[in-house]
Symmetry: C2
Subunit: 117 residues, 2 copies
């Protein structure tokens, strides 16, 4: 999967998940891969971008067509189980923000999003 | 500066900057520190979060009170100069998205944002 998501013209929605990992893997790597696979099969999924530094702080940004699509992903049972383990085991701190993307530009998706600054 | 931004109750605005770094530093580290310092002095700045992996892919999310505050930051001359160097030197690919945060929750800023899922 390319690192930068090829998103369409705005508007669309995003979930920004910022988190501080606890020490040790405890199944985290396998879960993270599985969640990307699962999310990408959900209706309304547009893409995902993720980065985590050596200090354990990471940001994952997923993109969705609508808040309904986000609500469906949130209700996915396997995702719910992963979130429980996230709260109890994998993250010491996290914050999740749902936002509506209104403008987008860059040098990666120019053809796709067609938006200007 | 804490890794997670202590943002207020939504709504507020965010700039999601996703980028792939080119090889070598070429002054990047010093500029990145300076841009955080400069942004935090701007009117309407609420906070910033940033993560970059060993593969050079990174996400920086800054938070702002309004789109006017974002426009002012965008027009800052020192920021403009840094963006020019970003385009020509520091990043092979990047994408910038401006979004309106509508909901937020987590275990880090509970007191501050007071929002529920």
């Amino acid at each position: 999967m390319p690192k930068l998501a090829a998103t369409p013209c705005p508007p669309y929605y995003t979930v920004i998940f910022s988190s501080q990992r606890s020490e040790g893997d405890a199944g985290y790597g396998a879960m993270a891969d599985r969640m990307v696979e699962l999310a990408s099969q959900q209706p309304g999924f547009l893409g995902v971008e993720s980065a985590r530094g050596s200090d354990g702080f990471g940001i994952t940004v997923s993109y969705w067509t609508s808040t309904d699509a986000i609500a469906q992903w949130k209700a996915n049972l396997e995702h719910l189980a992963a979130k429980d383990l996230g709260r109890t085991t994998w993250y010491t701190h996290y914050e999740l923000r749902v936002a509506k993307v209104e403008r987008a530009y860059g040098n990666a998706n120019t053809t796709e999003n067609g938006a200007t600054p």
